[in-house]
Symmetry: C2
Amino acid sequence: MRKDDYNKRKRLGMKVTKPTIKNIARAAGVSTATVSRALAYKNNLKPATAKRIRQIAQEMGYHKNVAASQLASNMTNTIAVIINYTQTDFWIGILNGILHRARELNHQVITFYAGDNDSRRLTQTVNEALEHQANGILMISGKMEQEQVNILSTAHMPYRLISIYNPEHRYVSSNNVEIGEQATNYLIKRGHRRIGLVGIDHYLTGQQRLFGYQRAMTEAGLPINPQWIHYGDYSYQDGKKLFSAIQDGSVTAVVAGSDMIGAGLIKAATQSGWRLPEQLSIISIDGSDICELTTPELTTVSQDFYQMGLTSVDNLLQDQPATFIPTTLIERDSVQTLPTEK
Amino acid sequence: MRKDDYNKRKRLGMKVTKPTIKNIARAAGVSTATVSRALAYKNNLKPATAKRIRQIAQEMGYHKNVAASQLASNMTNTIAVIINYTQTDFWIGILNGILHRARELNHQVITFYAGDNDSRRLTQTVNEALEHQANGILMISGKMEQEQVNILSTAHMPYRLISIYNPEHRYVSSNNVEIGEQATNYLIKRGHRRIGLVGIDHYLTGQQRLFGYQRAMTEAGLPINPQWIHYGDYSYQDGKKLFSAIQDGSVTAVVAGSDMIGAGLIKAATQSGWRLPEQLSIISIDGSDICELTTPELTTVSQDFYQMGLTSVDNLLQDQPATFIPTTLIERDSVQTLPTEK
DNA sequence: ATGAAAGCGCTAACAT
DNA sequence: ATGTTAGCGCTTTCAT
């Protein structure tokens, strides 16, 4: 019963018994301690008493007051998740996994939305999370500046970056360097020599994928033309836009920074009358479920975001070191094998 | 600082000052009340004092204990959101909207995952939400049985069903009857007479869309063949599967229960060598962002899920009556206009 | 097996 | 403008 409701009925002279352990205790003729024990299913009290108390609690419509409980016990069993706005919705799968595992481990999840990579806002959000005395914080959030790090460390709050591989922090993520390398190598093995990298961002994730791309090319003894690298925000829109950047035919294949980029490229290319994959082979990074369904021809280096969510919770609560989630190469029809030159 | 951390340092004989208003008060030489006021930015205290106190709090790494605060003030400013597993991820947009508006209105959002439409689990989840003394509960959750309703009403907890139009409850949703009617009418106006309805569910949402479909057909004086109605779970997979059910050419057009169903139908039809929309016109219901991007040729009756999230919060907090979110018809290339017969 | 009582950290009346 | 104080509802020692 809410307070206003309670007060209203009280004003009207109605007899009201606010469902608290105190009132349950009175009704049952026992002490509050006994009620507390009964409701927590402690085993050091007579089963009959316990059952009777629970019965009464039920009848009174009792629900534990978590605030009071947490305050008294100094335990919250809560995981705070901070989410930033992103163009893609990869975080859904992660959140799903987090919610699932947290529930298994008897933890609450409290979700905070930090908006659009605004640093002030992120600071505020971190502070909010801290106020909840959570067991830890999971950040699905690209940016993380010194300011927020300082707050977290002075508060002695464990945290993990999810899906963001940043060696300066603890993270649960795919290995973006390897992803870039893996995707590029796949194209190289199929005979491609002029390979583009399209739609990566300017931050850590993008730079790591770029590094992997460069490593693969270099190790294969292939030259890299800076004109083959194109930046974007991982969105479908940018995928469509960026097609113009590779329309000159300078590359025979591209690594798309995300499924959405890949889908956009395919769309724009098809609209321009290109035949795929004959005129352009595409491999994409990510492999979110939705795109897997709607652009099923796309070869991808796929991340299991749900698994990432599960692992995040374990990693945080068990204080494990930084962890990579393995990726899977899913072959489909968007890459053509070229005849090996010379 | 967490308790174990605190205790450890204490054990080691380190001097520790747990950051509480009490300790801040001592450090600042004022009372806890003054500290509380300063930190809450109340205006009835000397700016200089307030500033000094906040300074000290900052230095001590203080973060309000929400549990204590909520307990003392008897206010939580929290909205509980209950999410069920669904085949489609339409709820992302809704959650996004909820998170956004909640933050604007200075409310926390606590997210509960109720799993896969398991009634016991849903009951448990509702109870958990209740324990947080939230201001209200938003349920993005198809099933809602008498058991859960009873719990909610005895707890006097305001709640809303989101995206589920159920006249027995308060809801924020699109009008599924109208959606079905609107989609069907669109096809009728374009000269179609044998119209299928594919991929709806057996629950309220599906039945309402079916009702709208029937109303449109009947008002147009068109017969309805039960063979034209096919059930599914709104997924892409089911869309592909259900193509076989209409492959006999008995209908010239279909209303697809969701974008995903529509996308699946298109895929399967194309794979079978059909030319679309000449051989089959498709209009879909939903219009989630992702599909809009990846299956852009699909004509849809589109719902604005983000708006639904925004409205949900307002509706709940301002105790407004049940509300429909308007839908938009988005015309694209998936419907063919037939020559009017006779 | 149960009770008594001391808080948890904070807020908000009331007092000064 | 600031201090005093009585709780909020619960958990948890310590008694019995």
